[in-house]
């Protein structure tokens, strides 16, 4: 096709608790937050408003009262679009798919500039009530739901199996949370920034055994706007930008578990998506300088970094404990602080990964900067990594 997609601008709300209780006298509303980010991101990019042809939104949580949010935003911004205006949904992969929808409009020549954006507000709903909804997204409502299997209970079962099979330990897994908090301490967008020790992590109350409070994602609100552009536009702007070098996707045709036993902790979809992305980019895992992976729990970061070949199979937790995945280590992973510490506004979480990678590859990551970062990787997933979406990005300066 001869077209190449780039990221030329970003703007993000610091992850935290922003949603107002329904009875608050004064409300913080999603469209006001997002409109400001659109203006910030477009200014950051330096593109013309009139060049924007696509508005690709991550669907809002059901707690957002304003419905048809994408078309409402097109109205709120008075933004005519000749590419498309759409809302995308796909569990934790939502923002990854919204990014792809925007990118595809550029690849198809429908838009020169496309916005991928979204706002995830959910914290005014309690965790116990939110889980009544989320458990229906991560299993069979009739044949698994009645047992009370929560989303992260599946990851906890990954952890139990991983420790059993690979001789790892809760302490090794917990070291991922310590590492991610150290990264978050350097990230103004992160929800939790106070450094913690391994003892702090191990002292937290259990959430789903063997994972305690600091090893699972917090409840979070967040909002992001990314500006994507065809590479001719990016070149004309005269600023550093990020080239989307390749992508890989795979859905294994199963959700959580199927009746056919497999190696649950191998994350075969991440393996397949990673292979496709590496092959399309003509690189190997050793070429990656920094990776921002979708990993709600410590164990998930270990398993996906193994599946993507960034660390050896069965040794991911040990590599993390030994500092290989820390800033300054062999392959820094989740320099933003990851989902445990940067936070997890689920429907926009992959957008935050793109923001971090754009900062790293444009040399704007401040104290988190990975020196001479040229090639970076992101992942997004749904289920228990039953589907994976992987992107490889390249710095153009």
């Amino acid at each position: 096709m001869g077209r190449t997609v780039t990221i030329v601008g970003t703007a993000a709300l610091p992850v935290g608790k922003w949603q107002s209780p329904p009875d608050a006298q004064e409300q913080t509303l999603e469209h006001e937050i997002l409109a400001k980010l659109v203006l910030d991101a477009v200014e950051d990019a330096g593109v013309e408003r009139t060049d924007i042809g696509t508005l690709s939104l991550a669907q809002c949580r059901p707690y957002t009262l304003q419905k048809y949010f994408a078309t409402f935003m097109a109205h709120h911004l008075r933004l005519p679009c000749a590419g498309s205006v759409a809302e995308i949904l796909g569990n934790g992969m939502t923002a990854g798919l919204a990014f792809e929808h925007a990118a595809n409009d550029i690849l198809l020549g429908r838009s020169k500039v496309a916005l991928a954006l979204g706002v995830n507000f959910e914290t005014a709903t309690s965790a116990a009530d939110h889980m009544m909804s989320s458990m229906r997204a991560v299993g069979d409502v009739d044949f698994q739901g009645p047992f009370g299997i929560t989303p992260i209970a599946w990851y906890a079962m990954d952890a139990a199996r991983y420790i059993h099979e690979h001789g790892s330990s809760r302490e090794e897994l917990a070291s991922v949370a310590v590492k991610n908090r150290a990264h978050a301490a350097l990230n103004p967008l992160a929800q939790f920034r106070k450094p913690i020790t391994l003892d702090d992590v191990l002292a937290q109350p259990m959430i789903v055994e063997p994972l305690g409070l600091y090893e699972v994602p917090p409840r979070s609100d967040g909002a992001v706007c990314l500006v994507l552009a065809e590479e001719d536009v990016a070149r004309s702007l005269g600023r550093p930008y990020v080239r989307v070098r390749s992508r890989g996707f795979f859905h294994e045709g199963a959700h959580q578990i199927s009746e056919v036993p497999n190696d649950m902790t191998a994350f075969v979809s991440a393996q397949a998506a990673g292979r496709a992305a590496y092959e399309a980019a003509g690189i190997t895992p050793g070429d990656i300088d920094v990776a921002e992976l979708y990993a709600p729990c410590t164990i998930v970061e270990v398993l996906v970094s193994e599946a993507l070949g960034l660390v050896p199979r069965g040794l991911g937790a040990r590599c993390a404990a030994q500092g290989e995945t820390r800033l300054g280590g062999r392959i820094p992973i989740c320099t933003s602080g990851g989902l445990q510490s940067r936070g997890h506004p689920a429907y926009v979480t992959p957008f935050y990964s793109f923001v971090e990678i754009a900062d790293q590859l444009r040399g704007r990551a401040g104290e988190r900067q990975v020196a001479n970062a040229e090639l970076a990787m992101t992942s997004a997933e749904l289920g228990n990594y039953n589907a994976a979406l992987v992107h490889i990005m390249e710095a153009v300066r």
């Binding site: 309690s126 889980m131 739901g145 009645p146 047992f147 299997i149 929560t150 906890a156 789903v208 056919v260």
Partner: protein
Amino acid sequence: MLEIFTVDGPRAYPPRVTAFTRTFWDALSDGQFRTTRCDACHGYTFPPKPFCPHCWSRSVSWAELSGRGRLYSATRVHAAPAAFRADAPYRVGIVDLEEGPRIAVRIWDHDAIALDAPVQIVALRYEDGPLFAARRLGVPG
């Protein structure tokens, strides 16, 4: 036959029953554990389905399962959804049945069961209907 335990009160989050899955739930109430098996490729399916997801044949039959298997993984849930607050903390797991299928279960045991240990499926008879769970094999009721 599965061991049957009578449980006080209704199920916290009851399954919906269809004309097709009623066969499964009614059998479970009577202590029988069954699912569908493909007449063409002989693959088991769980949950039971009126077609075979492995080869898309529409010809399937009900097959009895022994209820014996091994515990593939397990966890104990402390932070529970609202409907399960009264149960928390509770154990759930993944069992590989001896006939092959892998299923998710509630664990009917106060103590943790070692992974790969043999387990048996039991029927839980609540006031409003049945559920299934796994417990250590050979432990007297």
